[in-house]
């Protein structure tokens, strides 16, 4: 009995390690130049998250790649989420190139060594990091290691309904948050029972793209200090939260919640802005393609989001995030995979085709100036915001998106009026402490 117990105890670690599939011991960054693609015919796999119309556009670009690289065939698999990428990494059967919509997991992919370090490849082929804007560089590296390249960016600006502006006598889009509040009140239309028929601007955190991270650059609110400590309990964040709460209270939280419930799904033809239920809305550049497809007659304009009244110099900037691509550690054809990655991330023609089709922003300096890009009056502002020096993103962390979600939990209570203003600072400090503890533990390989 005792012997069998001992045997089981001895087996436990081995069993459990076996259960972890292809878990490795982290990525090894090597400065040695990796082998070049030898030109032998090969078929590689690209996993991406695009579906239907957007997947068709990406497949077209992949076909272009196959024409210029006739010995490399690419098998694409669309609709892939990060969960599936992680499962494939664990199972030891990942694609040769993986694309993710979420920059939140850069830390997990890089920190664990799940995606390989690209520096040796970039050094060998002289792919300059400087061609990517600073914010893009931020979300494609973690802890000094570059394991991802950007593949198109999402930039956020203010969409406004020109007909509603004209009717309300508003000449131009707001440039400060005070102006935004005043315009939102003017543009709001209520039903006979007091419920909201048209919202001037919906400030609810969590509504469509009205997410805390997207507002941060507009107040110059930072997620971390230079030592990596969470900095939510700081003036810029508190200013943002107080502005938001004032506007929520003006509408009434209950009324706004009811309005949100009936606002229609974000990525559908019933989107509230496309349906004329929202006069102004913060959204990404991709919305221009959706409007062209779903509400072609909507008379709208685009401008940078307004900024904090006391920091007018921030105007013109905004929030940026994007898609990332990487090569899994156990990919079978890394050399050919790198050729595809390089093409998707840096080739001006590929970027222009993706820009025109997806209506996403190209992520290189050359791509931005490409004469192939067809930027109309509503798309050009996003290219300008992308290049603006005040445009920011949120830094990847060792805990993925957990810091944002902990913050969102607090904000849900804040906007519902469950946190009095007097407890705002202490409440945010509590969130900071929780985030710091989780990052510290995750970095040290401890409990969360």
């Amino acid at each position: 009995m005792r012997r069998s117990a001992l045997a089981i105890a001895a087996l436990l670690p081995a069993l459990a390690v076996g259960a972890c599939g292809g878990g490795g011991s982290g990525g090894n960054s090597s400065s040695k130049a990796p082998p070049k693609y030898d030109g032998k015919p090969v078929t590689i796999t690209l996993w991406h998250g695009f579906t239907s119309r957007e997947a068709g556009i990406l497949n077209g670009v992949v076909k272009d790649f196959e024409r210029t690289h006739p010995t490399i065939k690419v098998k694409t698999v669309g609709g892939v989420t990060d969960d599936k990428i992680v499962a494939a990494l664990r199972g030891g059967n990942p694609p040769d190139v993986a694309q993710s919509f979420s920059t939140d997991n850069t830390g997990a992919f890089c920190g664990s060594g799940g995606w390989i370090d690209l520096k040796p490849y970039m050094d060998r082929d002289k792919v300059a990091v400087a061609q990517f804007p600073k914010a893009v560089q931020t979300y494609t590296t973690f802890d000094g290691k570059r394991c991802a390249l950007p593949m198109m960016a999402d930039v956020y600006g203010l969409y406004y309904n020109k007909d509603m502006f004209k009717k309300a006598g508003i000449a131009s889009p707001p440039k400060t948050f005070s102006e935004l509040t005043a315009d939102a009140k003017k543009l709001t239309v209520k039903n006979g029972d007091g419920s909201i028929k048209v919202a001037g601007f919906d400030p609810t955190f969590g509504f469509y793209e009205s997410v805390h991270a997207h507002y941060a650059p507009l107040f110059n609110a930072q997620w971390q200090d230079t030592s990596g400590k969470s900095t939510l309990a700081t003036d810029p964040w508190m200013k943002l939260l107080r502005w938001q709460k004032d506007l929520v209270d003006w509408y009434g939280y209950g009324k706004l919640t009811k309005f949100n419930a009936g606002a229609g799904e974000e990525f559908s033809a019933s989107n509230a802005f496309e349906k004329g239920k929202l006069a102004m809305n913060m959204d990404g550049e991709f919305r221009t393609a959706f409007i062209a497809d779903e509400a072609p007659h909507l008379n709208y304009g685009v401008a940078p989001m307004p900024v904090d009244d006391s920091q007018p110099e921030l105007y013109g900037g905004g929030y940026v995030t994007g898609n990332i691509i990487g090569i899994p550690k156990t990919a079978k054809n890394k050399a050919a995979a790198w050729e595809l990655m390089k093409y998707l991330a840096t080739d001006p023609h590929a970027l222009a085709t993706l820009t025109n089709g997806l209506k996403n922003v190209p992520t290189t300096a050359t791509g931005l100036k490409s004469p192939e890009i067809k930027a109309d009056g509503n798309f050009q502002p996003f290219l300008d915001i992308f290049e603006n020096e005040h445009t920011q993103t949120n830094p990847p962390t060792a805990i993925g998106s957990a810091n944002q979600e902990l913050f969102q939990n607090f904000l849900a209570k804040w906007q519902a009026g469950k946190v009095p203003d007097s407890q705002l600072a202490s409440g945010l400090k509590g969130v900071d402490q929780q985030i710091d503890a989780q990052i510290q533990n995750a970095t040290a390989g401890q409990a969360p």
């Binding site: 436990l12 990060d82 990494l89 009936g262 990525f267 998106s401």
Partner: protein
């Protein structure tokens, strides 16, 4: 003359006995081998899909494991964090306990009530039985989506009907006070399985017991109290135990409701995790938090610790219910 048993044994008996024993042992071994052979699919399935994952999970609960790197032994730190550091876990435990304390008894009572009505129906029994059972055939995700749509405070038919009779409907899945009651309504709608079991048990109560009680002057209430309920008490116990275990593992509906009811989030699968527990953490059940930790935050070691705790709690709660059940459960032929 005294003859010993051995000396008096038939000649050759001593030589035969070991042979018989050997043959018997051989036959026993053959039988065991056959039993093992017949059971082998189950043994393999149990070992691969239950035993091994359970042991691996127990091991992982003592590690830091981010799904991508190798697990790293950290002793009991995941458990320490669970009890002293995680600010989300107690709200999640409270939500789960609320569901078990409110929804599970209501489910049992509702299923019993419906079964009672169907059992007494004089005509259309088959029709009503089918109608009440049908909801259980709906996949939980589809049923939850339908409920969120029906109870949409702005556009849903429930509030539209309520407003026609002068009642301003609540925010249902969008309100932290109403989200769990809304999930309870969804749970009540799907009690078909329990209802069928109750119906079978009610129809199985011997008629002569009711007749005897009636002769003794027992009314409807007393017949229910002293005949029906004691007779079906094993089924009630079964429903309660299953209900509590399902309550502890309540995931699908809470996950879907929170991600779909959150404002404008339905189409944004990439960001759905940010809405888990919506509104205001009121639907963040223990298994939802476990999923969030394991698959969204990559804290699989901690998620493993949470699942071990869930297993232990399920075991203890089930044992407590079963142990206490001898006070009120009447086994067939029993006197209680």
């Amino acid at each position: 003359m005294t003859v010993s048993g051995v000396a008096g044994a038939r000649p050759g008996a001593l030589a035969v006995a070991p042979e018989r024993r050997a043959a018997k042992r051989k036959a026993q071994w053959r039988r065991r081998r056959m039993v093992l052979l017949m059971m082998s699919p189950w043994i393999v399935g149990f070992t691969v899909f239950f035993g091994y994952p359970l042991i691996a999970n127990a091991y992982l609960s003592f590690t830091h494991y981010d799904l991508l790197s190798s697990p790293r032994w950290i002793g009991t730190r995941n458990y320490d964090f669970m009890f002293s550091g995680d600010k989300q876990i107690w709200p999640a435990v409270k939500n789960t306990l609320w569901f078990i304390a409110i929804a599970v008894p209501l489910q049992v009572i509702f299923a019993f009530g419906v079964a009672q009505i169907v059992a007494r129906a004089r005509s259309g029994v088959g029709f009503f039985r089918t109608v009440f059972y049908l909801p259980t055939l709906a996949p939980p995700v589809a049923a939850t989506l339908a409920f969120v749509f029906l109870f949409n405070p702005a556009t849903g038919p429930v509030n539209t009907i309520l407003s026609k009779i002068g009642i301003e409907g609540p925010l249902w899945f969008q309100s932290p006070s109403w989200s769990k009651p809304s999930l309870t309504l969804l749970a009540l709608w799907g009690v078909g399985n329990a209802m069928i079991i109750f119906l079978a048990a009610i129809l199985d109560v011997p008629k002569h017991l009711h007749e005897s009680a009636e002769l003794d002057g027992a009314g409807w209430f007393n017949r229910m109290r002293y005949v029906t309920l004691p007779s079906i008490s094993p089924v009630i116990l079964f429903s309660v135990v299953i209900g509590v275990i399902q309550g502890l593992q309540y995931f699908d509906q809470a996950y879907v409701a929170s991600t779909v009811a959150a404002p404008g989030a339905a189409g944004n699968a990439a960001d759905s995790s940010i809405n888990l527990g919506y509104p205001e953490g009121s639907t963040l059940m223990y298994p939802v938090l476990l999923y969030q930790q394991g698959f969204r935050y990559f804290n699989m070691g901690y998620a493993a610790a949470m699942s071990i705790m869930l297993l232990l709690v399920s075991l203890v709660v089930t044992l407590l219910i079963v142990r206490n059940s001898n006070r009120w459960v009447h086994a067939a032929g029993g006197v209680k």
